[in-house]
C-alpha cells in the first residue's frame, strides 16, 4: 500500500510562552518537534507497511529547517521524504496550505492512503486534513482511533466520538486523521537514525508544483487574524479545603440545590 503522511514542525508545547505585548506565540529559543498527532499518523503508516508491505512517503510544508522533522520521520520508518518549501508559501492559512499540499500529493502520483494528525498543536484548527481530502477529491474520516481492517480496496476504522465511537467503512484512496489513542509511537532506531542522516530529501517549490500565485501564501489565504487574546477566566470559583471527606461533603452540599 502506498501511504502518504503529512507532518508539521511545531514548537514544543512544553516550552511555549506567549509574548505579553502581542499575545502571539513567542518562538524564540523554543525547540521544534514533529506535531505529536502526526507522530501517531506516521507510526500507523509504518505499522501498515510492516504488516502488509508498501511504501511510506512523508511530506511537510515549511521553512528549510523543517527538514529536521522529515529526517526524524525517516528514522522512525518512513521511506521517502518531501519538503515543500518556498518563500511564496509564507503566511499560508489552512486554505492555502490545503491547496499547496494537494498540488504536492497529486505531483507524487498514485497513492492509497493519506494519513494526518487530527490537528497541529500550534494552530489547533484541525482543518488541513479535511481540506486536503477535499482538494484531492477523496473521502476522509477524522479522529480515527483504530484501523480495524484494510484489504487494499476498503478500510474499516473506528472514529472517536464524545460518547463512544463510530465504525466507518470507506473505499480507497482515502484520507484519515488520527487521534493519539490509535497507537504508541516508537522511539527511532539506531539503524533508522543512520539511514535518516543520509536520506535524500525531495524539495518542491511553488514552481515545481505549478501552483497558482493567487492560491498560495498570504495572497491565497482568506483567513484574517483580527486579534489574539487569552480567554476570560471562567466565572466565580471556590476552592475547598480540609480532608478529602470534608471536601466531598462541601461539594455535595453545593451541588444538591441544582439537582
Amino acid at each position: 500500500m502506498k501511504i502518504i503522511v503529512c507532518v508539521k514542525q511545531v514548537p514544543d508545547a512544553k516550552d511555549v510562552k506567549l509574548d505579553p505585548k502581542t499575545n502571539t506565540l513567542s518562538r524564540e529559543g523554543v525547540e521544534s518537534i514533529m506535531n505529536p498527532f502526526d507522530q501517531h499518523a506516521l507510526e500507523e503508516a509504518v505499522r501498515i507497511k510492516e504488516a502488509q508491505g508498501g511504501e511510506v512517503t512523508v511530506i511537510t510544508m515549511g521553512p528549510p529547517q523543517a527538514e529536521a522533522v522529515l529526517r526524524d520521520a525517516v528514522a522512525c520508518g518512513a521511506d521517502n521524504a518531501v519538503l515543500i518549501s518556498d518563500r511564496a508559501f509564507a503566511g499560508s492559512d489552512t486554505w492555502a496550505t490545503s491547496y499547496t499540499l494537494g498540488r504536492a500529493v497529486k505531483k507524487l502520483g498514485e497513492f492509497d492512503l493519506v494519513l494526518c494528525g487530527k490537528q497541529a498543536i500550534d494552530g489547533d484548527t484541525a482543518q488541513v486534513g479535511p481540506g486536503l481530502a477535499t482538494r484531492l477529491g477523496i473521502p476522509f474520516v477524522t479522529c480515527v482511533q483504530k484501523i480495524r481492517e484494510t484489504d487494499g480496496n476498503t478500510v474499516i476504522v473506528e472514529r472517536m466520538m464524545d460518547d463512544g465511537y463510530d465504525v466507518v467503512k470507506a473505499s480507497l484512496p482515502l484520507l484519515l486523521t488520527v487521534v493519539k489513542d490509535i497507537n504508541e509511537p516508537r522511539v527511532p532506531s539506531l539503524k533508522g537514525k543512520m539511514k535518516a542522516k543520509k536520506a535524500n530529501i525531495t524539495m518542491l517549490s511553488a514552481a515545481d508544483l505549478e501552483a497558482e500565485a493567487t492560491c498560495i501564501g498570504l495572497p491565497g489565504s482568506p483567513t484574517q487574524v483580527v486579534n489574539v487574546f487569552p480567554p476570560e477566566p471562567r466565572g466565580n470559583k471556590e476552592i475547598f479545603t480540609g480532608s478529602v471527606d470534608e471536601q466531598v461533603d462541601k461539594l455535595v452540599a453545593k451541588l444538591t440545590p441544582y439537582l
Binding site: R186, V187, P188, S189, L190, K191, K193, M194
Partner: protein, 383 residues
C-alpha cells in the same frame, strides 16, 4: 560537559535517552512496586537496535566497543537501574560466547541476542562461591555426546526470563581454577529449572532466581572454548562488563542529582528556595563533582578497555568502584536534600538509594575490586 562523542555515539545516547525519558521514567515506580520484569520496555529497546550495540557486525550487531554500550547504559541507568540491569545482563550472558565461543555457537546465539529476540544471562555465583569463585560446586561430566550438568547457581539476573544462559561448571575438580569450563544452556533443556523469584531491596524490575541443574543433559558442542578455559573466559567477561555497571552508577547518580537540583529550586523554606542556602548548595556541588569525575573516569577507562590492553582489569575495577561508590553517596545525599519527601516513595530518590546499593555488591564487590587494583599495583611496582 562535552565529551566530544562521534556522530554515531551521539545517536546512541539520543536513542537511549529518549527511551529512558519516555518509556522508562513514567513506569519505573510501578515496576519497582510490583517487582515486574520490564518486557515491554526491553522490546522497545530491541526495536531501537540497542541490543545490537556490543555484538559484532558479522552476527547482526553494530560491533560497538565497551565504550558504546557504556554510554547507552548510562542513559538507561539515569531512569532505572532495575531495567538497566535486566538489559545489561544480556551482554554479560553474551560476552562469554563472543570471547570464547566456537563459530557455530556464535552463529547460533548471537544474532537473536543482537536483535533482542532472545534474552541472555550469566551463571557464575553459587551459595558457596561468591567473591571466591574457586568454590564452584556445579559439575559437568561428559557422557558420550552429552555433558551432564549438576548443581545450583544463585542470584542469577534474568533467571527464568532469559532463553540463553552461559554457565560455569567444574569439568575437572582436581585442577582447581584450570578445571572449570563454560557452557551454553537453553531454557527448556531437560533437567534445567528455576528457583522462585528473589525479593530484593532494589532493582526490583530485574528478575533474580536460582538456576537448578539436575542431570541436565546438553549436546557436547555447547561448551564455550576448550575444556578448562572457563575461568579465563569469566575474567575477560567481567573485565568487559564492569564498565557497564559503572555506567549504571553514573546514570543513577546523574538522575539523583537532577531530582535534587529540581527539588531544591522549587522547595521554599524561610521564604526562599532551599537552593539559595549554602548548606544545600555545597551538597549539590559535591554531588555534581562526584557525577562528573565518575563519568570522566568511566569514559576514559571504557575507551582504554575498548583497545583491549593487557592491564584492563585495573581500569575496569577502578571505574566500577569509583562510579558505584559515587552513586551510593549521591543517591543518599539526594534523599537528604529532599528531606522527608525524599524518604517517601512518591519521589524517585528513595528508590534510587535502594537501587544504588547493589552496584557496590554485584559483578564483584567493591572490596574485591580494590583487591584487584592493589594486586595490580603490587605487580607493576615489582617490575
Amino acid at each position: 560537559m562535552d565529551y566530544f562523542l562521534s556522530e554515531e555515539q551521539q545517536m546512541i545516547v539520543d536513542v537511549a535517552a529518549q527511551i529512558a525519558d519516555e518509556k522508562i521514567m513514567p513506569v519505573r515506580a510501578e515496576l519497582d512496586e510490583k517487582h515486574e520484569f520490564p518486557r515491554a520496555i526491553l522490546e522497545e529497546m530491541a526495536q531501537a537496535d540497542l541490543f545490537g550495540i556490543p555484538i559484532p557486525e558479522e552476527y547482526g550487531g553494530f560491533g560497538g566497543s565497551t565504550f558504546e554500550i557504556t554510554i547507552a547504559l548510562e542513559q538507561i541507568g539515569r531512569a532505572c537501574i532495575g531495567v538497566g540491569t535486566a538489559f545489561a545482563a544480556n551482554f554479560l550472558g553474551a560476552y562469554p560466547i563472543i570471547i570464547g565461543g566456537s563459530e557455530e555457537l556464535k552463529q547460533k546465539y548471537l544474532p537473536s541476542i543482537a536483535a533482542g529476540k532472545k534474552y541472555a544471562a550469566f551463571g557464575l555465583t553459587e551459595a558457596n562461591a561468591g567473591s571466591d569463585a574457586s568454590g564452584i560446586q556445579t559439575t559437568a561430566v561428559l557422557d558420550g555426546d552429552e555433558w551432564v550438568i549438576n548443581g545450583t547457581k544463585q542470584w542469577i539476573t534474568n533467571g527464568g526470563e532469559a532463553d540463553i544462559y552461559t554457565v560455569i561448571a567444574m569439568t575437572d575438580k582436581k585442577k582447581g581454577a584450570r578445571g572449570a569450563s563454560m557452557f551454553v544452556l537453553e531454557k527448556g533443556d531437560p533437567g534445567f529449572s528455576f528457583g522462585p523469584k528473589e525479593k530484593k531491596m532494589g532493582i526490583r524490575a530485574s528478575s533474580t532466581t536460582e538456576l537448578i541443574f539436575k542431570d541436565c543433559r546438553i549436546p557436547k558442542d555447547r561448551i564455550i572454548g576448550r575444556q578448562g578455559t572457563g575461568f579465563i573466559t569469566v575474567m575477560k567477561t567481567l573485565d568487559s562488563s564492569r564498565p557497564g555497571i559503572a555506567a549504571l552508577g553514573v546514570g543513577l547518580a546523574q538522575g539523583a542529582l537532577d531530582e535534587a537540583v529540581k527539588y531544591a529550586k522549587q522547595r521554599v523554606q524561610f521564604g526562599k528556595p532551599i537552593i539559595s542556602y549554602q548548606a544545600v548548595q555545597h551538597m549539590l556541588a559535591d554531588m555534581a563533582i562526584g557525577v562528573e569525575s565518575a563519568r570522566a573516569l568511566l569514559y576514559q577507562c571504557a575507551r582504554y578497555i575498548a583497545a583491549n590492553p593487557k592491564d584492563m582489569s585495573k581500569a575496569s575495577s577502578m571505574c566500577k568502584v569509583y562510579a558505584t561508590d559515587v552513586a551510593m553517596k549521591v543517591a543518599t545525599d539526594a534523599v537528604q536534600v529532599l528531606g522527608g519527601y525524599g524518604y517517601m516513595s512518591e519521589y524517585p530518590v528513595e528508590k534510587m538509594m535502594r537501587d544504588a546499593k547493589i552496584l557496590q555488591i554485584y559483578e564483584g564487590t567493591n572490596q574485591i575490586q580494590r583487591n584487584v587494583i592493589g594486586q595490580e599495583l603490587n605487580r607493576e611496582y615489582s617490575r
